[in-house]
């Protein structure tokens, strides 16, 4: 993952895509289509991220031993609760995006 965010090609491509959205006027119907597709992507991402979060957390908690085990478990339970709520929010955000709630009206 570090390779990805440290990869200049990837970062520059991402910034170019962003620049496209920021500085070029995309036709409203195409922009709305992109938003809906991205909405679907956010739904998938929320599910995948939650799966990895629970896998990593449960692995760490079951492996915790010794005097610091209680602290490790507390930290992971806190992270799991908070990020599960955040991922539910991200999922709902994806649903709103995919169903056109963020569509821009023609001429707006």
């Amino acid at each position: 993952m570090l390779n990805l965010v440290d990869n200049k090609t990837f970062v520059i491509a991402l910034i170019l895509i962003g620049a496209l959205a920021n500085f070029i006027t995309i036709p409203v119907n195409i922009l709305n289509l992109i938003k809906r597709v991205l909405g679907g992507l956010w739904i998938s991402l929320a599910c995948v991220a939650e799966y990895f979060l629970v896998s990593a957390g449960s692995g760490k908690m079951s492996a915790a031993t010794g005097p610091s085990a209680a602290q490790t478990i507390t930290q992971w339970i806190t992270i799991l609760i908070i990020f599960t709520i955040v991922m539910v929010g991200f999922f709902i955000y994806g649903v709103y995006g995919a169903t056109g709630q963020y569509d821009r009206a023609e001429g707006a």
């Binding site: 993952m1 570090l2 965010v5 440290d6 970062v11 520059i12 991402l14 910034i15 895509i17 962003g18 620049a19 959205a21 920021n22 500085f23 922009l31 992109i34 938003k35 991205l38 956010w42 005097p67 610091s68 209680a70 602290q71 507390t74 930290q75 806190t78 992270i79 908070i82 990020f83 955040v86 929010g89 991200f90 709902i92 955000y93 709103y96 995006g97 709630q101 963020y102 821009r104």
Partner: protein, 515 residues
Amino acid sequence: MANNNLNQPSSLPSVIASSSVGTLIEWYDFYIFGSLALEITAKFFPASNPTAGLLSTLAIFAVGFIVRPFGALFFGRLGDMIGRKYTFLVTLILMGSSTFLIGCIPGYESIGFFAPLLILVLRILQGLALGGEYGGAATYVAEHAPPGTRGYWMSWIQTTATLGLFVSLFVIIITRKSMTPAEFSDWGWRVPFWVSIILVAVSIVIRLRMKESPMFTQLKAEGKTSANPLKDSFGKKENFKMVLLALFGATMGQGVVWYTGQFYAQLFLKNTCKMDSLQVDSWLGYALLLGTGGFILFGWLSDKIGRKVIMMAGMAAALLFTVPLFKQLYNTASPKAKAALETLDKREIKLAMTKLAKAPASGTADSLMTSDTVKYYADGSKYTKKVETILFTAGKPAAYAPKVTEKMTLSESNKWSIIFPIFLLVIFVTMVYGPIAAFLVELFPTRIRYSSMSLPYHIGNGVFGGLVPFIGALISSYNPTNPYAGLVYPLSVTALCFLIGSFFLSNKMEENVAD
């Protein structure tokens, strides 16, 4: 009363000053706990007591990102129902008294288990107060600021977080330098907490003279305030979707860029590069002070070219330059990266054997072996490493891992090689953080503005941003050979937020916020 307020508005500079001073003090109060965490841990959370250790985890780890959003909800609701002025007066009193009391609690040796418990309770109150403060101050200033210059006026509020950190570092450094290390460790660390009560008293006097926000006063006079701001903010799809958009398209990226530039850089220099703590804090102070003007510049610029464009440019800059800047810090400060400059003839190693007075419980101790290594570098920097190992009789294996203490003290010639990269990181912070208050207040209507803007702000900063040091350290522990591994988390979140913000946010500025 309402009309009187509307007819005689407070002057804008006095509104900004009175709001900003209080907010700065709240940030100061919140940061000194983190900056003095080592002293607090030693006094209140002894490692030998597991319960105290658990409370330490909760107090230091959890409050930053659990309690703040709850404070945002609680005080946001109050602010939308009874008014901005009284709500953020309450948060200021709560924060100030909690901070002062932290400085007064007797240590674990005096009152035992109650000491860490009281610290936890007061830390929770601090988190709640901070959660309520920022939204109130931002809303209050926004509802006074004229259209067209809102970004500029609100950027003064944005400087308070960085200046709060700067003032906290300054007070701690002055206190440290005015006494011996032993005195500071014994009682001197309490002084920055006591100073808070003076600052808060001054701020309360200033805030008591303030008038209620004219927009809120008018809304109240017309009976249009929300009866249930939380339901209106988060129970109605039209508003809730904007809360989600603010969080995922702006504040989550802003939070991680901010915490990476200010706190992770500090942690990186101290933990990964082993730099001297006092030197890191002093040089970080320079970078913060130099970069603070960026908040005003980008706030002002956001009135001219839009909020979104600047925030997205800040995230793009962070994506492009964060790793190279951290490499620069590492190459300048880390003893591992500076090895080529070392000359063997200037290395000093001293070994000392001391008979232990008291044997550890797990075996018969023989000696404590202390190994002191000092390395000098061509540029004048100095690195010290102390390894303490307990050696047992009759070849018994050591029951404890050696205790290693490392410190890299850089020469003055390296000063700007450290300050400049941090300054650039702070500039990225000012780009994403400078315009965000104006962006958030323009997204939500007056009747639910305090509640609606506070929650995404504190989830973005408290949860996503607040987790940067913890997750960064966690990822680094899995990749001990890669010093930059901890940057994966903030950069991934920034990349996602940049993509969402670029496509989903609008660059249009809402001129009229009196709705």
